[in-house]
Symmetry: C2
Subunit: 216 residues, 2 copies
Amino acid sequence: MAIQLYDFWRSNAAFRVRVALELKRMPFEAIEIDLLAGRQFDPAYAEVNPELVVPTLVHNGDRFSQSLAIIEYLDHLQPDPRLIPLDPRERAYAQSLALVSIADSHPLTAPRVRKHLGAAFDADAATVEAWCRTWTSEGLAAYERLLAKRPAAPFALGAAPTIADICIAGQIVLAELYDAKLTPFPNVIALGEQCFGLAAFAEAHPYRQRGYAIQH
Amino acid sequence: MAIQLYDFWRSNAAFRVRVALELKRMPFEAIEIDLLAGRQFDPAYAEVNPELVVPTLVHNGDRFSQSLAIIEYLDHLQPDPRLIPLDPRERAYAQSLALVSIADSHPLTAPRVRKHLGAAFDADAATVEAWCRTWTSEGLAAYERLLAKRPAAPFALGAAPTIADICIAGQIVLAELYDAKLTPFPNVIALGEQCFGLAAFAEAHPYRQRGYAIQH
């Protein structure tokens, strides 16, 4: 079961897939696409992923994109541990938590958006950082309200981590990257401590990737 | 099987759920949350949906948010017609197409983003429209490249519409709202003609909603 992952240390969507692969103990070959250098726009990568984003997962010659779709496919390949619950109501809850980061908060801080802010509004680096901090904090605030309503025990869905925890942990990684304060979000902090206490989350962290070490 | 939908005519995510309900012929009661008037921030709505977004679907007292999670839950309640294929590879393909709009393009044009552009960059109405047109066109271009690689026949996954077509149709609706040109995207245009040729898509269109008629 050879798996390749087109990956980049800083990509939050790639972080999600790395955590999933680590939790499932599925070995994979990482292929770096340097998003900061614009390598996702290379013609050769357009053949791999016409959307020109990472991650792309390759399995038996099939290519998969979008972290949520990839993680559900991994649940099919290796159901233990399952990251998207089978019970329809719990499944919808897990997916809706995941989509707070995937669909509402993280897209606003993607590289192409940061770049466009400079082009469209002459935004300097500090202004772009402030933009990213604003939307990262909005996502964290939404998670705090959701976790206050249904407290984690100790993970968002119960005893074991799921796609929901992976995405909340990713949002915490964004807070680190953009220096957003976590202190107003005690439920998020507590969940993050559970997640990053696990080797799978810790190993997948951007700062633990080889590409980060080379660039810093 | 009483279903309520917290809805707004202009919400693209609500459009997706309306199409799904129409395709499945599931009757529902629409409850309008006027996003342009900021009603999603009312304390009473925070009880319904702590993320303060629409749509929210209510079924037997359970509340569901995020269009993708809602539509998968509807596939559980009423599997005919199924909108997310069961085959794992086709399922991942359908979801990844859906997420081009849900996770990458549409989030950049949400009401809170348009509002923040004014606050952060003194962007006037024309500048905000240009921002929305840019990201809507980026999403359409990604769809065009993906459909060129695997042509629709006549829908994205084959004979019947799925979540992928719903999201591509939603992207076409965004193009109408922001006056983005469709002409560079012939595969998208052809798919849109298939979709809006069906009553379920046509009925769910923003301009066919009661709230639109009242505000225009």
